[in-house]
Amino acid sequence: MAITREDVLHVAALARLEIPEDEVDTVRDQLGAILEAVGKVSELDLSEVEPMTHPLDLVNEWAEDEPRPSLPRDEALANAPDPFEGQFRVPAVGG
């Protein structure tokens, strides 16, 4: 199935990537070519095959409920682009 301009814009919105208007067609062409190549997987009838969710079949990997020290607040915020009063500031949410 060929990927349309609308598909590209929808996926870009989901992925939070602002594709400049004049690049949308290029992106669509590249994705189209790759999708055509990878579409090869649908040649196989695998209705009877289980998907591999993990290379090793491990189960019940968990940790005991015992606290370990958290980061000092200044370290937590050390890499923040816009720290404010000990918190991470962003443009108003829901806006």
């Binding site: 994705l31 790759i34 090869k40 090793l56 962003v90 443009p91």
Partner: protein
Amino acid sequence: MAPQTSEADRTVIDTLRLTAEEAAGLLGRGEVSGDELVGAYLAAIEARDPELHAYLHVEGERGNGVPIAHKDVITTKGIPTTAGSKILAGYTPVFDSTVAARCKAAGLPILGKTNLDEFAMGSSTENSAYGPTRNPWDPERVPGGSSGGSAAAVAGGLAPWALGTDTGGSVKQPASLCGVVGLRPTYGTVSRYGIVAFASSLDQVGPLTKTVRDNAGLYALIAGKDPCDSTTVELPAPVVIPEGTDLTGVRIGVAREMNEAEGIDPGVGERVNEAIRLAEELGADVEETSLPRSVDYGLACYYLVAPAEASSNLARYDGVRYGHRAEIDGDLTALYSRTRWEGFGAEPKRRILLGTYALSAGYYDAYYGQAQKVRTVIAQEHAAAFERFDVLVSPTSPTVAFRIGEKAENPLAMYLSDVLTIPSNMAGLPGLSIPCGLSEGLPVGLQLIGPQFSENTLFRVGHALEQAIGFDYVPERLT
């Protein structure tokens, strides 16, 4: 190789030749100090890295162990870690990855952080936001990727050994193109904690070294269960540093599709066939076999699974807690979308979009779901082969190092250079690449694949062949 001795009769450290094992010997016998050793590598970096650009950051830690270079997806506390991306420019981790911590605990000083394709997405290191790395054998050519910086550093004498990561072949392929030894371990044997994630179900850390023995030594140091990574396991048997050259009784399979695939350079095929004949002379039983669907569908499968996981793994780069944030007055969505478009390079963006599409409503079953089933098929096909064989051999890369820019404009052509490393990776299997000679004056890599946890077998066979082949890992142009 014994170190040369000058008139002044003090040890001169030839970083181009010195193996990690020899370096440890010099330190152990007190013939050189830790500072002298690190100093020698810093001097080599100063001399040759302006041309090679293997390093993104030179740290030059002092210490009394054999120094090491880390691919820049390996988180190092207090040392910048960028994943080769602008979106992590200026990011300084507040914690150590488990592998970095284990190297630190073993007393290995950090020389620096090596260049890579952005977020380990690529096969040439041209996708680095900080410029390409050049191949020590020919600066006009790529070192492979994505661990091209680590491979070039070891081949160019800028580090005795280094760590890389391998998702679709990112340790094996650059090792092949730079004429060094590279291991992609069994999935789950090396911790991913603190490794900037690309594709979680495929990523593994692996050593790049001059010799197989060095490789086994470094693997022994980083491998084993990590409570911080739920997907790791304890090694079923301790790592054995290989010795000897006898391969009697070793059953080697030569998968037709992996050795006759179109696009394999004639010169590459010849070197690999010579290596296979040597294996027979050393006592191995060699037989032809077949992995039809693994080779046919592996690439397509990989380019659905890896981008899908990547699209999710790269969602955290939003300019809120760390990394690049766009200068823009606008709402949150606008800030996210601009920040991510500015911060990511072309290849990550391509794969995020591809992966998002493969997971999105209505396409999941046809793409991601189907690809995960193909993975099962590939794993079963390999398992069947390993009932008859201990090791499968093939070229690591269909070609020798290609010219910088040659494939930059054509993603699909670039993807093809991993066609032989991907299938076993999809099955979670270990693979070792060792140099097996030159073609057109450039190194050719031999790929050895084994069943899960067969690293000791790969080291044994790799070491035997390494001795028999007698490849000189020092690039002629640098001698």
